[in-house]
Amino acid sequence: MNLLFASLGFGMVTAAVLAIASVGFTMQFAVTDVLNLAYGAVMIVCAYVAYAVNQAGISIWFGVAVAAVLGALISVALNRGVYTPFQRRGTSPIAIVIVSLGLTLILEFGLQAIVGGNNVSYRVSQGPTLHVGGLQLTVVQLVIIGLSVVAMLAVHTLLAFTKLGKAMRATAADRSLARTCGIRTDRVVTVTWLISGALCGVGGAVFALDAGSFGATSTDLFLVLILAAVFLGGPGQSYGAMLGALVIGIGTEVSAAYVTPEYKDVVAFVLLLIMLAVRPTGLLGSRA
C-alpha cells in the first residue's frame, strides 16, 4: 500500500511536468495547425540555457524564467523563419511534420556539438523529503507541482475569460471564419507561438529539474509521452492535455510499481491505443 501511495505521488510529479509541456504543445497545434515535433528539442535547448544561468551562480528558478522567455522567442522564430514560409507555399501538414522532424535533429545535434555528450545537473538542493499519507515528495517536487497548477490556472483564465483566449479558440475552430469576424488571426497565431513557446521553455527547465540529470537528447522519449498525453486528452484540447498528462503520469509510475518498470512507458501507449479505439477523439474531444 505504501508503494501505491508513493507511486501515486511520483505520478503527480511526472504529470505536473507533462501537463506544462502538453498544454503548450496542444495549444500550438490547435491554433497554428502545426504539429511541431521540434517542441522537445526546443525544450532541451531551454533546459540548457537554464543550466547556463544556474552555472553562473544564479538561482535555477530565475533560470526557469529565462527558459520561458527563450522558449517563446525560439518558437516565434521557428514559426516566422520555417513553418510560415512552408505554409504559405501550401505545403501539406504531413510535410510540415517532416520539416519539424528535421528541425529536431538540427537543434539536438547542434546542441550536442556545443555541449558535448556529457549529462549535466542543476545546482539546486532538492530539500528534505516530506512524507505525507504515504506520499514521499521533496520540496522541489512540490514546487514543480505548484508551478504546474499555477500554469494550468493561467491557461484556463486565458482561454475562458480573456478576449485573446476567445480569439485563440475562434482561430482554432475556423481560421477563415475568425478572420471574417474581424479577428486578426495572424497576430493571434504569433501570440499563441509566444505563449506555447513560453510553456515549452518552462516545461524544458522543470523537466530537467525533475530528471536530476539530462543530456542533449533527453527529451526524445518525453516528446512521445507529450504526444500520448495530447492525443489521449483529445488533440487541440488544452483541458484534455491536462487530463491526459495526469492519466499518463500516474499510469506510468503505478505500472512501474506493480508491473516491470521496463514497460512503464509502454503502459502510456497501451492507454493511448485503448482510448483511440474506444473514443477516437480523445477524452474531451466530443465536448468541443
Binding site: 505504501n2 508503494l3 508513493a6 507511486s7 511520483f10 490547435a30 504539429l35 515535433l37 501538414p93 504531413i94 511534420v97 522532424l101 545535434f109 550536442q112 555541449v115 558535448g116 555528450g117 556529457n118 549529462n119 545537473s121 532538492q126 528534505p128 523529503t129 514521499q136 521533496t138 479558440r169 482554432a172 475552430a173 523537466f207 525533475d210 530528471a211 536530476g212 540529470s213 539530462f214 543530456g215 537528447t217 526524445d220 522519449l221 518525453f222 504526444l227 492525443f231 483529445g234 488533440p235 487541440g236 484540447q237 488544452s238 509510475e253 503505478v254 512501474a256 510499481a257 516491470t260 518498470p261 521496463e262 512503464k264 512507458d265 477516437p280 477523439t281 480523445g282 474531444g285 468541443a288
Partner: protein
C-alpha cells in the same frame, strides 16, 4: 477547441507521425583496402544516444595511439588517422553505419570500439569484410564464438559480474540489490550476478531494470530503498545512473546506499554526470567499481599517458580527461591499435588476411621474444631482427582460441576531486569460487 471531424483528421495525422517517427529511428555495402594514402582506424561506437559518452573515449585512445605511431614513422610508409562512425548505440543504426563505413573508407586498416550495444550485429559484418576489430563488448556470446578477425582485451561481462559480487563479499555485504539498464550491454550482467549472489550465500533483495530512455526512476528507487539492501550493484549509462542514484539518495533520507559499479563507470562522462547529481563527496564515499588491472607507472604507462594527454581537447568536452588514463576503453584500445600496427610491420603488409596471425604472435609472445612497451620500441626491435612481445599499459596479453584476453581485476574508486584510486585487488580464486 477543434471540431470532432478535425480531431479525427488530426488523429489520422498522429498515426502517420508515429509511423514516421518509427521510420526515422531506423537508419547500406562494404570494402577495405591498402592503397597509398594514410591508413584509417575507424572508431565504430555510439557518439549520440544514451551511450554517447563511449565513442569519444575510444576516439581519444585512437588519437593517442596514432600520435605515437605517426611520430615513430607510421606503418610501412603510411601515416595513420582516426575516423568516428556513429552507431547511436542501436543495432538498427549500427548495421547501415558499418556498411557505409566499408563503402566510404579507403585504406580502412582497423576497427575499434564496438560496444555491447551493437557488437552482435556488426561483428559478423566486419569479420566477413576481413578487417581486424578490437571490440569493447563484454558479451558472453563472444566467450565461445570464434570470429577470425575479432579480438577483445576487455573482461567478459560474466567475469565482471563475479568481480562485483566478490567486492561485495570482501566488504561483508549480505543483502544485494541489482539495478541495471535495459540495454543489451547492461542486461548481460544480471543473470551471472544473480547466480553469483546465490553461490556466495547472499540475499538478493531486489532487482530493477532501468529504462535508459526514461527520465525519472522514482518508483524503482523507492522499491530498492524499501528492500533495505546493504549495497546496489549497478550499470546504467547515459543520464540514467545520475537520475536514479540521486533519487535513491533522496528517498533514503539523504544518505547514499553503497554502490558497486562495473568498469564502464570508470569514465569521465559517468563521473561528471553522477557527481553532479549526488555530489562528489557522496560518490567518493559510497562508490567502488571493478576494473581490469592497468599500469599506473612504468615505461608503457609513461608512453601512453604522454601520447594521450597530448591529444587532450580533441574529443570535445569530456570532463576530467585524466580519468581516460584508467578508463578501460582508452587503455585497452590503445594497446589494440599498437598491436595491430606492429603486426602490420612484422607481416610487411596492411592486408588483414596477412597480418592478422601476427596480432596473436606479438600479443602473446613466443619463447625468447623481446618485451617492448611502446610502438616505437617495437619498430626498433623489429628492425633489429628481433621477435617481440608487446606489453602496453593494459598489461600482458594472453589471447585464447576465441581471441579473448582477460587480466586480473582491481577495485577502483574516485576521490573527492574525481581522480581514480585503486583501493583493492581481486584474486582469480575469488572469482572462480563464484563462477557457475
Amino acid at each position: 477547441m477543434v471540431h470532432n471531424a478535425v480531431a479525427r483528421r488530426m488523429a489520422a495525422v498522429a498515426a502517420c507521425v508515429v509511423a514516421v517517427v518509427a521510420l526515422a529511428a531506423c537508419g547500406g555495402t562494404a570494402s577495405s583496402g591498402s592503397g597509398s594514402g594514410p591508413l584509417t582506424i575507424a572508431d565504430l561506437a555510439p557518439f549520440t544516444g544514451p551511450d554517447a559518452a563511449l565513442g569519444p573515449i575510444y576516439l581519444a585512445s585512437c588519437f593517442g595511439a596514432t600520435r605515437a605511431i605517426n611520430n615513430a614513422g607510421g606503418v610501412l610508409g603510411h601515416t595513420v588517422n582516426c575516423k568516428s562512425v556513429d552507431t547511436r548505440g542501436d543495432p538498427a543504426d549500427a548495421v547501415p553505419a558499418t556498411r557505409q563505413m566499408f563503402a566510404s573508407t579507403s585504406n580502412l586498416a582497423l576497427v575499434i570500439g564496438v560496444t555491447s550495444d551493437e557488437a552482435a550485429s556488426v561483428v559478423p559484418i566486419i569479420n566477413s569484410n576481413k578487417t581486424v576489430v578490437f571490440g569493447m563488448t563484454g558479451q558472453s556470446e563472444f566467450d565461445s564464438t570464434h570470429f577470425d578477425y575479432f579480438y577483445r582485451l576487455v573482461a567478459p561481462d560474466l567475469d565482471e559480474s563475479y568481480a562485483m559480487v566478490a567486492i561485495a563479499q570482501q566488504k561483508h555485504y549480505s543483502k544485494i540489490a541489482l539495478a541495471f539498464g535495459n540495454d543489451i550491454g547492461s542486461q548481460t550482467f544480471v543473470a551471472p550476478a544473480i547466480s553469483a549472489v546465490k553461490k556466495a550465500g547472499m540475499t538478493l533483495v531486489d532487482n530493477e531494470t532501468l529504462d535508459l530512455h526514461a527520465t525519472t526512476f522514482r518508483t524503482e528507487a523507492a522499491k530498492i530503498v524499501a528492500a533495505h539492501p546493504d549495497v546496489i550493484l549497478t550499470e546504467a549509462l547515459g543520464a540514467t545512473a545520475a537520475s536514479f542514484l540521486s533519487e535513491v539518495k533522496q528517498l533514503n533520507g539523504g544518505t547514499m546506499i553503497p554502490i558497486i559499479g562495473t568498469s564502464a563507470s570508470i569514465d569521465p562522462a559517468w563521473y561528471t554526470s553522477v557527481s553532479g547529481a549526488i555530489g562528489a563527496s557522496t560518490l567518493a564515499s559510497s562508490f567502488v567499481a571493478d576494473n581490469l588491472v592497468v599500469e599506473s607507472t612504468g615505461p608503457a604507462y609513461l608512453a601512453f599517458s604522454q601520447n594521450l594527454l597530448a591529444e587532450k581537447g580533441k574529443v570535445g568536452n569530456t570532463g576530467n580527461f585524466n580519468t581516460y588514463l584508467t578508463a578501460p576503453g582508452a587503455v585497452h584500445l590503445y594497446d589494440g591499435i599498437n598491436l595491430a600496427a606492429l603486426a602490420m610491420i612484422e607481416a610487411k603488409s596492411t592486408d588483414a588476411t596477412v597480418f592478422r596471425p601476427f596480432v596473436e604472435k606479438i600479443g602473446n609472445g613466443v619463447p625468447g621474444a623481446t618485451v617492448v612497451t611502446s610502438f616505437a620500441d617495437g619498430v626498433a626491435a623489429l628492425k633489429a631482427g628481433k621477435t617481440i612481445r608487446y606489453v602496453g599499459p593494459g598489461g600482458p596479453t594472453n589471447f585464447d582460441s576465441f581471441h579473448d584476453s582477460t587480466g586480473l581485476f582491481e577495485v577502483d574508486t574516485y576521490d573527492a576531486t574525481g581522480q581514480v584510486k585503486v583501493v583493492g585487488q581481486l584474486t582469480p580464486q575469488e572469482l572462480r569460487a563464484l563462477a557457475g
